[in-house]
């Protein structure tokens, strides 16, 4: 069949219901954050072929609502752990764009001094606490971070993003079990984009609902429309509340669609692992377009406002790339730093 994994959400309809609970500034800010990430990703994509960014990239175009909605429920002091698909997480959590682009350009001014590249966009100042390029690697680490907060009695929630394939790694099961056992203040945010690189779920798992599986660890688990930034936010906010209240972990499954290739620039649907109709189907549920539609209906944005946003974003992006490109490379001495801590 052409559309293997279709959109099952409420589309534009969902926004009305969730929207009412939030003030307009908040509604607009979510839109701005998504638009900003989209434009940044597009510019990275546009320049990638110039080979100035000698790093793998895993774009989140089409998946902006999950990062933005979830992070809007987090405080700066809350922790976010991530995988290889870091761009959206880092930016939504408040990571510095200049440091991100410098990192991708292998400059010493990069957020991790050019030691990590795009899969290690870490900035502890804003709670972007750690990432792993190993699928599932960050999941138990996030539980450990939550355990630390619990032991220290800190008012801090920890969230970890994971993909659908990450649920196949045994360590994810181990992490759910331990988090449930200890009522660790952690939120498992599963972006189910139906694919692992170019492998569909059907070649990796029997047909099942990931959130029902998580629920058998006695973890409150919900499925939420991953292209509806408001639905994502509300689910995340409830989960974070539960964590803060000491009620333990939550598992959130958000169906989303990756509109680009797993890695690199451009889309690779033409290679045949998924049908063009499937991508086009999901393009009809672009999280940013859906939210814009909602905001316009409520007269919260108009062409002028959008134009201002675009200009603001464009300037920021241009400046950030300039910063990155004008930043110095690391020196040989840098290689020997931070191998061991004193």
């Amino acid at each position: 069949m052409t559309i293997r994994y279709g959109y099952k959400g409420e589309g534009a309809g969902g926004f009305e219901r969730y929207g009412s609970a939030h003030d307009s500034d908040f509604l607009v800010s979510l839109f701005f954050s998504m638009l900003r990430i989209r434009r940044i990703e597009e510019e990275i994509e546009r320049r990638y072929h110039q080979d100035q960014m000698k790093t793998p990239i895993h774009l989140v175009i089409g998946q902006e609502a999950t990062s933005v909605g979830a992070c809007a429920a987090l405080r700066t002091t809350d922790l976010l752990y991530s995988s290889h698909r870091t761009h959206g997480n880092y930016l939504a959590k408040g990571g510095d764009l200049k440091a991100m682009l410098a990192e991708m350009h292998c400059r010493v001014t990069g957020c991790v001094g050019s030691r990590g590249g795009s899969m290690h966009l870490i900035d502890k100042k804003v709670g972007m606490a750690g990432t792993s390029a190993i699928v599932g690697g960050a999941v138990p680490i996030a539980v450990g971070a939550a355990l630390a907060a619990q032991l220290k009695g800190e008012d801090r929630a920890t969230m970890v993003f994971l993909g659908d394939a990450t649920t196949e790694e045994g360590v994810t099961s181990e992490s759910l079990n331990f988090a449930a056992l200890k009522k660790a203040p952690v939120v498992f945010f599963c972006e189910n984009n139906f694919y692992s690189v170019q492998s569909p779920l059907s070649t990796r798992q029997p047909p099942r609902d990931l959130h029902r599986w998580a629920a058998t660890y006695q973890i409150p688990s919900v499925a939420v429309d991953g292209v509806n930034v408001l639905a994502v936010h509300d689910a995340a906010a409830a989960a974070v509340e539960r964590a803060r209240a000491g009620d333990g972990p939550t598992f959130i499954e958000a169906p989303v669609y990756r509109l680009r290739a797993h890695g690199g620039a451009g889309d690779d649907t033409h290679t045949g692992y998924r049908h063009i109709a499937e991508r086009e189907h999901w393009e009809g549920f672009d999280p940013i377009a859906l939210h814009e539609h909602f905001l316009r209906n409520k007269q919260l944005v108009d062409d002028a406002a959008l134009g201002d946003m675009e200009r603001k974003i464009a300037t920021e992006i241009a400046d950030a790339f300039e910063f990155a490109l004008n930043s110095p490379n690391p020196t040989e001495r840098d290689l020997f730093r931070h191998v061991y801590a004193d």
Partner: protein, 344 residues
Amino acid sequence: MPWDEGLVNSLVYDAPDPAEGRVVSYVKAINEALTISLDSDPAVFVMGQGVDDPSAMFGTTRGLQTQFGSDRVFDTPLSEEGMMGVCTGAAMNGMRPVFMHNRPDFVLLAFNQLVTHAAKFHFMDNGQTTVPMVVWAAIGRGWGSGAQHSQAIQGLLLGVPGLKIVMPSTPYDAKGLLLSAILDNNPVCVFEHRWLMKKDGIVPDGFYRVPIGKGIYRRRGDDVTIVGASHAIELGVRAAADLEAEGISAEVIDLRTIKPMDEHIILESLEKTGRIVAVDTAWMKGGVCAEIGCLAAEKGFQFLKAPVARVGLPDIPTPAGYTLEQFFYPDAARIAAAARSLVR
């Protein structure tokens, strides 16, 4: 998704002379070995993340599923340890699995099954079972592979009894050694190097084997022996060429297989040159370099005219950035310098 495609394609190797035979790419050579094995033995099957996807494990598995069906060539869940156990169980029961991984880093998730199960069953059950399986992975380098996608783990596995470790450096060996590995009745790790995949070489048509456990002279010389395998010996050959210009005659031994290691060829060469430089794509401490260096001082002491030298990775995780990588990875010049220091 081989994100380093562009990088690898930019690498340049001398083209082989078609007059010498059939010119085949490194990737195609592996693909031929898999095809021949699947074709000749119904017990062989190939599995791994994305072996059936458009990138086809760097192209090595291209077309295999179409030709042999999805029972014998299949994608797997993201469950390295579980799938390693599945291979072991299948191998214990008459199959010959080939389990392919993008990176050796992912094999670390399966060490319990590989090291404590696959490698030991034949011994533990007194030979009732054999475990003929191949674990294939390509060592990554460059384009931000970094600390978690560039690990060469042969050194970690050298001390594991029951395992064999193969590390080809040419398309000819990649095919011949993989064919031998699949026919071997023990678990065999085949570690390729991503950068070799751009190489073309003279590769015979059809079936042939390169023996596991035998090294080969890539170049004869009298002053110093450069020994190692895979991409490291590729650099060793280049270093030897540079040394020749200075009048230093280096002998280059490609071990081809790290375990079992061909001690005889190492000692034979050492007896002549009296000097040895051990090279490896992995960390120098306690790995392949250390084993070769210790072997030289243990069994070849009477031949040694100079200290043993090793050229591998420093005791530092792999940095992701381009500039830092240039400082991190040894090159032909560094191997040449090590050899020079022994001779002068």
